[in-house]
Symmetry: C2
Subunit: 501 residues, 2 copies
């Protein structure tokens, strides 16, 4: 009986993996705290704590014993679930063994130290201190990629850390397809006689009141406060595990849209984590799939729910209880305002669903060039501004509104940005699949009964953890292979109607 023998070995592998999951959780908390709670002077200790946790995590993952278990399980008789867990651990282990622990430690310490330097640069619109630090980060990321495979494009290797199963070629093709489809729509909008105003959702919206509004919206969406909380941070993000998944947001006191949008977006991330099977916590089956899928959850809620007419029909009267001026706004006007295309908006996280991908393409091109060594950090600001001018028709006047707006590069997240576009595309596929399954969701959105969406995502996506590689998960959930068609059809129809194209 092969089975009798294999299961203990499988259990040993899982036991060796659990600390890695828990150290990930610890690292997440250290980051959350640094961005949300830590006094500014805490960085030197925090950076070393982060470095130590990363080092220990890496040592565990690269441990030769893990390799032995994996080899012994190579031709063992395993259940499908067990094979999936082995596949995920193997993938991570094989990367880890190639990278020296010291490099992991150094990189983590450096990025923790770079965070406040980026924050300061962003705040003061002065990148002088940040540039040399970012150069060091990039140098270490290049070294990291070279350890994994010196013969491949380092960018491709880094991309795989965020999306291991959809290839960089796929990302490339999707981004090209998006550009080809979106630019004509944007041209149509530029020529359209329809003028949409953001004013219905602009005015005076004190932050305390906005806070209670977004808490109410989170209630409506089904956020589980027993396992979550909301705070503010420079860059909105979610930090989570299946038991404790926290969101952050940020508010604009003159505009309701950024705070609401960021909150609904982060809810999608948090709800994914909270929907993972808790009894599999500590194993790959209890972990979220990578960033394409994660981003599909946030973008589905942000765009397909939070930027839909029926949901705004529901939402407006609730918001008007806090902000009486909204009583005069029609759902159509609010719906239009949250979808107004701003080709000249400089900030990615506030972008509409069309120009969003042009923001991504700028970043994607620049980070590929930086990693290939054909672009220096010092040249980024000018190139960034040129590309904004060329792709979006607008030139940032400050570094703060330009290349310093995103946290990613300071954290060493090169190869991350394309997953935002991939996730948006997948969101449209998933939303289409939900409507194929259970019919139009308009009525549920109009009454705020969005639990049906959560339920569907729980079953089709969340409950699987890392059971399936990304493409298989998408096929299982939607019956289709991954592609941009659903997204392009969705935005063509939505913006065609809005702008009478």
């Amino acid at each position: 009986m092969q089975r009798e023998h294999d299961t203990p070995r499988y259990d040993q592998l899982i036991d060796a993996y659990r600390p890695i999951v828990h150290l990930d959780g610890v690292g997440n908390l250290l980051s959350w705290d640094q961005q949300v709670m830590m006094p500014a002077g805490g960085t030197p200790a925090r950076a070393r704590q982060q470095a130590t946790v990363s080092r220990l995590r890496h040592e565990r993952l690269a441990d030769p014993t893990v390799g032995d278990y994996l080899r012994e399980l190579g031709d063992a008789e395993l259940t499908e679930i067990e094979r999936a867990a082995v596949r995920e651990i193997k993938r991570q282990h094989e990367r880890a063994v190639r990278v020296p622990t010291e490099l992991i430690e150094e990189l983590r310490q450096l990025t923790a130290e770079a965070l406040p330097v980026w924050e300061e640069a962003r705040e003061t619109n002065d990148s002088t201190g940040f540039v040399p630090m970012l150069e060091d980060v990039i140098e270490l990321k290049r070294e990291y990629a070279a350890h994994i495979d010196p013969d491949r494009d380092p960018y491709e290797i880094l991309f795989e850390d965020y999306e291991p199963y959809l290839s960089l070629d796929t990302a490339d093709a999707v981004l090209a397809e998006l550009r080809d489809a979106l630019v004509p729509i944007l041209e149509g909008i530029a020529e359209s006689e329809v003028t949409i105003s953001g004013e219905p959702l602009q005015g005076e919206f004190p932050i305390d009141q906005q806070r209670s509004c977004v808490e109410d919206v989170l209630d409506v969406l089904g956020y589980d406060w027993e396992h979550g909380r909301i705070d503010t941070s420079t860059h909105p993000f979610t930090s989570g595990n299946p038991f404790d998944s926290r969101v952050t947001t940020r508010f604009d006191p003159t505009d309701l849209r950024p705070g609401l949008g960021a909150t609904i977006h982060e809810f999608g991330h948090a709800d994914y984590e909270l929907g993972l099977p808790r009894d599999a916590y500590g194993t790959p089956l209890g972990e979220s799939r990578d960033l394409t899928v994660h981003e599909s959850q946030s973008r589905l809620w942000e765009n397909h729910v939070g930027r839909s007419r029926p949901f705004w029909t529901f939402l407006l009267p609730r918001l008007a209880e806090t902000f009486p001026s909204l009583a005069d706004v029609s759902p159509d006007a609010a719906f239009a305002a949250v979808n107004k295309v701003y080709p000249d908006k400089l900030i990615r996280v506030e972008a509409d669903e069309l120009t969003y991908h042009l923001h991504i393409i700028v970043r994607y091109e620049i980070e590929r060039e930086v990693m290939a060594g054909s672009l220096d950090v010092a040249e980024i600001p000018a190139v960034w501004n040129d590309r904004y001018e060329s792709y979006l028709g607008v030139r940032p006047e400050t570094e703060t509104d330009g290349w310093l707006q995103d946290i990613h590069w300071s954290s060493g997240y090169f190869g991350y940005f394309p997953t935002y576009s991939l996730g948006s595309v997948l969101a449209a596929q998933l939303y289409g699949a939900i409507e194929r399954d259970i019919g139009s969701l308009d009525e549920q959105l109009t009454t705020g009964s969005v639990g049906v969406i959560q339920d569907w995502l729980r079953e089709a996506v969340h409950h699987h953890g890392c059971r399936y590689p990304t493409p298989e998960l998408i096929e299982t959930a939607t019956g289709e292979s991954f592609g941009a068609d659903a997204f392009i059809a969705y935005v063509s129809e939505k913006y065609g109607e809005l702008y009478d194209l």
Copy 2:
């Protein structure tokens, strides 16, 4: 040259020790977050994160390589500072190697799980769910002690985790001396014709306003906000390292004293951490001495500053800016109110400086008996109430106000309580030494110029880190050996005057 050879080995030892310090910092943050920020449902993940960090810390500390380094350094030529670091690491290593990692991990997970159970028991005044958990904690603590030395009193071994250098015999003797000295004073107060009222500091004090008051007090004391923050928690505590040392407090909306007292107390702890030499962070020279010294810092600020007449002369007008009713209170009346002896007060952290030690003695007796196996957990509530009746003349009516009031046992902190009394005693010695050095501090306290105290403590205590064992540190700082005389003289004079004894 022996020296050339030894220093690299010493550096290796220190490099092996650094991750232990950083993991301590990580564990502290996990606890801080659990008590201050974490959503209630986060416990299952947090408990496993804590267990993982404890396990990795223990593995590092018990690593045979550390033992090898220590042996090789045994008769090496080292500087006094290096010898001190070796001494501290050796002490911890020798304990760690005797205890199985699994036990450390299990204990940490259990105590993280016990925290919310204790909180719930305390809140609902129902210990049904907590009792079996505490039994498990105690069982594991007994096992832990038996691994270290099966032939010694387990309580003594646990005590050494909190105070390794002043023996349990010393603690025993000091507690007996305190009881002998304090009981007659308390009897005198009971018979005194002086009546002191707490009313001057009682009334309506909304929590938001109290919060801004204690922040102002922290400013006065010299709290470094760049490296700190204040929050509220069920049980006030400090979590810190030299770069990031945070305090918590709790407020009573009808009484100013608990919030102020807890804040000033925790400031003392935080200021110790922030005064450690930052360039030695990651080594024993950058770590605080154990709990007697730590508690001496908090008690010095809480009692010798925060319960002094001159400081209240300074403080009252500032508080009156927020709470106008205080404008009618005299410094004498406020001074008396913060020192009013409440023989019938049930809560330790709100106790006056005399009965405080009777609260400690009750806990000390009970935890010794529990560890010796002569008292079961189920019997604690009744024994607790009997001892309160016998020593303090008052019987708790609820478990919440009785044995459930303190967090310590749920955290497995058996042997911790005596250090509160030892620390109070040391605070009086240190305060006496400061006044011998630089004369009466009354004028500085009256003007809020307490920086002189901070400066003295920095130089005499904080800057040394773990350079000296506790008794030597005390002698270096005060010129005296450790003892209760200064404390007994201090309270005799203070309460003699207050109650006209």
